[in-house]
Amino acid sequence: MLHALSLWLFCLGLWLLLSGLFDNPLLLSFGALSCTLVVFVAWRVEQVDPEEQPLRLRFGPQLILYWPWLLRQVVLANIDVARRILDPKLPISPALIQLKPSQRSELGRVIYANSITLTPGTVTTSLSGDSLEVHALTREGADALLAGGMDRRVAGLERGNP
């Protein structure tokens, strides 16, 4: 019930943000009605295809510090890949590597895999069970992932991990 209510409030906030209408009662009630419809459809879908409880992450300094860190990594990787593309010799050394993620929850592994794919130069090719396959554009990128800095940071987001 709390889940449905928070989804409804989220949808209403999004509707207000996108429509920009705050003073027309008829349109506001239509917006509230459409949010209710969305919550109903989401409830129906949830019965067919249940989702893991989403709020398994610890809200703390780690979560706030993770995004700027990821943004910095993305910018650095962008500059590196752009330099390699503009180099006339095209200095790439593609590699396919296996990783063992240390996150325990599914959500943690998905955040890890998405972070890898968002960073240019590395793409997650498969995520099954507790192993992760990554295609890297360069050997340096593959070595940086094997060193496991990002893995430790994402594992630190999970509840109960140090």
Binding site: L17, A82, A95, T117, L118
Partner: protein, 110 residues
């Protein structure tokens, strides 16, 4: 103050266009499909990010900037998903060529 924000926004727009064109050139220069994906992800992350940041600086604190931020967040959440679906489909297709690998790559699978 206004000229500073204006200058920053032009700088962000020009940087975004630069990264986009680099990504486009990479899309044509890279030798096989799997390496081209990395070039495409440049345009999706920093190219789109810098252009939308430049537009947000032009928009100021308005509803338009909030929408631009929403577009940016949406692109950054969906582009890894689309890339992953693409590479997974390509790898599971037996007729698609395997990725070219560098010979002395670390713990590579043949």
């Amino acid at each position: 103050m206004a000229w500073l924000i204006d200058g920053l926004s032009w700088l962000a727009l020009l940087g975004g266009v630069f990264f986009m064109i680099v990504g486009g050139v990479g899309l044509l220069r890279m030798p096989d499909f799997y390496t081209r994906l990395h070039a495409a992800s440049i345009t999706d992350t920093l190219g789109a990010g810098l252009i939308l940041l430049g537009l947000m600086l032009q928009g100021g604190w308005t509803l338009v900037s909030a929408k631009l931020l929403l577009i940016l967040l949406f692109l950054w959440f969906t582009s890894p998903t689309a890339t992953h679906a693409l590479v997974k489909a390509a790898l599971s297709d037996p007729e698609n060529p395997r990725p070219l690998l560098h010979e002395d790559a670390p713990s590579s699978k043949s």
